[in-house]
Symmetry: none
């Protein structure tokens, strides 16, 4: 039995009822860890409990975060549940492949879900390692939040009973938690900013997206991120000095 249960992260969920339904969907397949990023109506939400139909333990243990990055800090493998994004160059996997990878991953994993109406924003999708898309009817795609959660939870559970660990899927070293990658990106960003890299300003956001995607793609381990940190710090030293001199 793989005990690598993914954390379910709901980003800006709107209705308490839907948070409750998501909890119910999770617990049907044995998932218990829910994280909420800035739920619109605060937390706890009195409408969540009745909709959970008994899955109160999931709601009681749910943790609230201010930002998606904080909610993912201890996770080394993150899937963004969304349709294909033409604006982002990211790997897209089907639920089956996601499930296989989660079972093979040694660190913590998370699955991100966006708000009910709008879905995940690009900036949140970019925090993920990959996009996971449920293949649906191209002429009628209408999955609500709890349905998306239950399908991915079900797919995860299908592999949970067997010994699915596939050595070929695994990297030699486990992926570092997202918090370490984010620290690297922040440091690089600071140095590039001082070096005048983000010019013109209207391109800055797109450039930052590119950098994040570039550095998320490798799936570096903690050791590798630490080595990259050394490289970036060495190169950025003149900028660090110049800022101190100012």
């Amino acid at each position: 039995m793989s005990d690598n249960k993914p954390v379910i992260v709901l980003v800006n969920p709107q209705l308490g009822q839907n948070i409750g339904k998501a909890a119910r969907a999770m617990l049907n397949f044995g998932l218990t860890e829910m994280r909420l990023v800035a739920p619109r109506d605060g937390w706890p939400n009195p409408e969540a409990g009745p909709a959970a139909s008994g899955a109160d333990m999931v709601l009681d243990q749910a943790k609230v975060y201010d930002s998606t990055a904080e909610a993912l800090a201890d996770c080394s493998l993150v899937y963004a549940s969304t349709v294909r994004r033409r604006d982002l160059v990211m790997p897209v996997v089907a639920p089956e492949e996601m499930a296989r990878e989660i079972h093979a991953n040694e660190g913590r994993t998370a699955i991100l879900f966006g708000p009910e109406r709008s879905g995940l924003e690009g900036s949140d999708v970019q925090l993920a390692t990959k996009i996971v898309t449920v293949p649906i009817n191209p002429e009628f795609g209408s999955l609500n939040l709890a349905q998306a959660v239950i399908l991915l939870a079900y797919e995860w559970s299908r592999g949970a009973g067997e010994d699915l660990v596939q050595p070929t899927m695994k990297d030699a070293e486990p992926r570092a938690p997202m918090g370490e990658l984010n620290a690297l990106i922040d440091h690089l960003d600071g140095a590039l900013d001082k070096a005048g890299y983000f010019f013109p300003p209207e391109r800055a956001e797109a450039t930052r997206t590119t950098i994040r995607t570039l550095l998320t793609k490798p799936g570096w381990s903690s050791r590798e991120i630490s080595a990259m940190f050394g490289i970036v710090k060495t190169l950025a030293a003149p900028y660090d000095r110049s800022s101190k001199e100012r």
Copy 2:
């Protein structure tokens, strides 16, 4: 594309809303044929439409029957969606196996679902060829009608595939030729050397190996390598200048 789409048969459904939700669940995975056996509140039901979120064509085509036997008359393979029944000696399959069998079957197939509160009665289950049971958390089994429908429709669709939008399994951009990666590594190496990174000298070779491994792992595309080049050149600019000044 297997066009053996199972008929979804709802036996004595209670709420129009749940019939609508079941229609929505079906159409997400391309299933369009719904049959209703003696719906409690008659048919059509004004509450079904709004809950179907656009899957009206399923509701419009739904046929009503007086008995389960009549609803199944043209089907050669029938699954009763229910938990295992200790009172009935019948084969029980998991959703995967059901899907495989449906795709292999030449005649029409149907999946039976019982009323919301009580589930299928023994007399209806016995009309089926087999029982299909979604493996759920033994300590918390709480699937509602639409959830049961969506999980089995999804499982069916996994084998039907071709017409559904399949996510691409590979990255959108091909890996860059090694020459481009080597040029990036060389440039970085030159900058790091000037910055005094390769110290002590006896560690230099191991450090260079680490850097190469780090940068080979991502499988960056030409576009991505070009972006990394920009980053490295920006950070390395002070070293380039200092070497020219010497």
